[in-house]
Symmetry: D2
Subunit: 281 residues, 4 copies
């Protein structure tokens, strides 16, 4: 397996999509030198977006995390999150009424910008579920797991309504050695018990890539094979990018250790076009 | 679909295995008239056992629940629980050292009768996991779901050890209209995230039926087809009984409403030998 | 559950996407009266496309089936098939070389219009797999199941390459009472054995709806909620349409009997905006 | 990971259960030196059984394969096959009538020793399915995959009856480099399509270990932890043995290469008591 220089790869494309965690940042913060990469993209007129399975805050809040660390190139209009897709779903399909959510009140504020009312699952009264139009899983924080996850099940037994999972991830790193259960895994558990089919947004699903592609196309016509997807995870970033028709780069700064990359590509059959050590150039 | 009288069925067998919830009791308590059934069994020399996916307490505590309600026929030696199988596993395979558990301290006391030390997951220090020999999921109560389920994942990332799930159920009824997530579903979620294979005890697994069959055989030689398994759930009681070679009765006092039985049998392909309204005779 | 008239529903939209089997036709052929529906759409300037999980032939051949039965409104440019998505993937991601296929030679001809060479799995020599760039599952006919499905497994053990499944369906009706295994189920079996991740095209995946939406948008700007998706299957047509942001109609001329619709919607949690008897108006 | 000598391990036990393929034999035949191992067991009064997921022939035929190669210690009474469990199921649960089978006529002969009639799926007339009492998956050979697997689905749509899968394996090796789909994978595919629950026999299911344990106990009382299970596959032999309460040895002559063993044990969480190069002593 050949490891190539990221600059030599990215220079051949007209746009780049980056995964966030494991690619631009890790448990210590933004990878040192990432600003150089964005300087290079801007100088060379290469368009870029950040695609993240994160519904815990709005694009504005997501971008602030980069801006505060000196990465001024990452503005809110560059962020594509699974939360934006969930919000779009609610706009098209629910339109009015109240949506019950699992997550922090911060995660719900972004949903409210659609004009929908939101209510935390903890505040729902089982006898008043008729007012609810949908349930949305936003974040693994901001609620009591035991009482509120059980409550979702009993709400769904009383009223049939769509359930939206705004983050397909099942875990996320909290520090060098530890991970935490993500809201996608909580949703999988509820779905298994209740036996209904939920609607999920996030990589590797094509809708995430399409959303970013539409932003690119609004500026210039670019063919899918002129776009590069950069990620650290085979089963979300790389297979999602491949399936959408993009060329793909696996970087070794996140999920996959350098000595495992060849074996993981062989065992999963998920084959990136390139492998690079990192996006730093 | 013919619904037959339970007495006419059970009179043909030498032993009966009963599921507990949905068969002998429901959310209101013991079904009225159940004592008559046990009187009939005793008079007619038909042996009986209760098979339950419950690891939250010992056979003594499980039997007390019936005794306190006047069902004196159900003594601790008549109870076969998935917790007993988990306890047996630890006896044969772990033998000494400390086992970390998810559940109440009551559920752990029963494990301690093996001579093993137990420690609640909440008290485990991540830097001292080397002392642990196994993890056991006992009950959905007695701990903080958020912190303690996450902690299990991080313990397993530090030390490879067997994980025992002492109850395969994914939910249980708490009252007429509401259900609650059972510890089996929490274990399924952790297993999905950590990617390891856990060891599960409980119906429909053959080991549960075998444990009961050994009790029967210790008294008299009885062929498997002289034993009747009675349950309210197709995918645990009935398929488990069928696979073990027992004849099976579906009763309509629990999971399955009378008007759904025919459709559920057809759609699952899990076919009881008989359908009865209830075990009351 | 209210059953409404299709005309009263469709008149409110600017475009309609139809599933094919169970909606426009069944085992007896085209539903009588379907031409009236298309006459109405054309008169009222409502755009329309047929979305089908069928990779066994090209859009031209698919349209011929309707034309030959007098439905002249269905021209090749109205057909959106999962085979077209598979073809697009190969164009963007494989570009040159040889693709091995499972299916009839007819299904492979359409792939060859990309300029790629194709070879039937039956003709692949295990010692010459280095020449292959991808494997594609096109159809359940045209090969020996025993030898050729086994051969795919052994090809993939020799060379790691992408595997494309051009039809996600697991079965299809062959007459009033009988169904047949579809190529999607054969692919599921191979994926389970080989442990690799395949790339699948077809409803309910968003890419199928996006492909159709791009055709609509090339003519006029239409918002997603001005498009109606019509299908007979909850877990492909309806959930796929809902997730993409379209309004949805369940028709009762295919998979779901009129007396089951309410129960199936309740048990799956997949909720169409409308239920109509059929598309015939 | 310490690799220990098999003799030093086995000498501590009163009985041993061996997996067949990958332990006693491989694609070249019986491992050279295996007879010495059995000589040692016999001299030291250590009881032994062969546990195999094979329903393609009777114990007599299975033993002949060893006898013909000079391993006279392996007599029919030493063989425990998943086919024997399927046969026992039919004896207890079906008792009379006709069973349709997928497999060779040789595999069916063994079923007929119960007194049941058998008919190959290929000979079943769809209009006469009422005569059938059960369907059994015996072997991946002896039938036309395309027509006969499709026929099973349509038989089950006409009549609800138990389906028995007499081999849980999904693949088996045919030579050094190639594998073949096993009947367990064909059954998984049919089960997925028809949506019914089949009854499966074979490791890692406890019933297989129990069957062998009953043979041991018929001669002498031996505690479970005085029995050693020897296998080459973590997810069948080792987890099955562990769960049943046996001590376990992973040997490196089959599924798992010596340089992968440590990683596979860590990633699966399936932990044998010992790792040995082979059973040859």
């Amino acid at each position: 397996m050949e490891i190539v220089n990221f600059k030599s790869v990215v220079s051949k494309y007209k746009a780049v999509f980056f995964d966030a965690y494991g690619v631009l940042k890790n448990h210590k913060g933004i990878l040192p030198g990432v600003q150089n990469t964005f300087d290079y993209l801007i100088e060379n007129n290469i368009d870029y977006y950040i695609l993240t399975n994160d519904a815990s805050r709005s694009p504005i809040r997501l971008a602030e995390g980069y801006q505060a660390n000196g990465i001024t190139a990452i503005t809110p209009d560059r962020m594509i999150s699974s939360g934006m897709l969930a919000r779009e779903y609610l706009q098209y399909k629910v339109k009015k009424g109240t949506v019950a959510y699992l997550g922090t009140s911060g995660s719900a504020h972004y949903i409210e910008t659609t004009g929908l009312k939101t209510i935390s699952i903890s505040e729902v009264q089982l006898d008043y579920v008729d007012e609810l139009e949908a349930i949305v899983f936003l974040d693994d924080e901001g609620f009591n797991w035991n009482t509120d996850i059980n409550k979702i099940i009993n709400i769904l037994r009383r009223k049939n309504m769509p359930v939206i999972v705004a983050n397909t991830d099942i875990s996320y790193p909290v520090n060098k050695n530890e991970i935490s259960i993500a809201v996608g895994a909580l949703a999988d558990m509820v779905e298994e018990i209740i036996g209904k089919t939920f609607i999920r947004f996030g990589k590797p699903d094509a809708q995430m890539f399409m959303f970013a592609y539409e932003q690119v196309m609004a500026k210039n016509y670019i063919s899918k094979d002129e776009i590069l997807m950069v990620g650290d995870t085979l089963r979300t970033d790389i297979i999602g990018g491949n399936k959408f028709g993009l060329d793909t780069v696996l970087v070794l700064t996140g999920n996959i250790m350098p000595d495992q990359a060849e074996m993981k590509i062989a065992s999963t059959g998920i084959i990136p076009n390139y492998v690079c050590e990192s996006v730093v150039i």
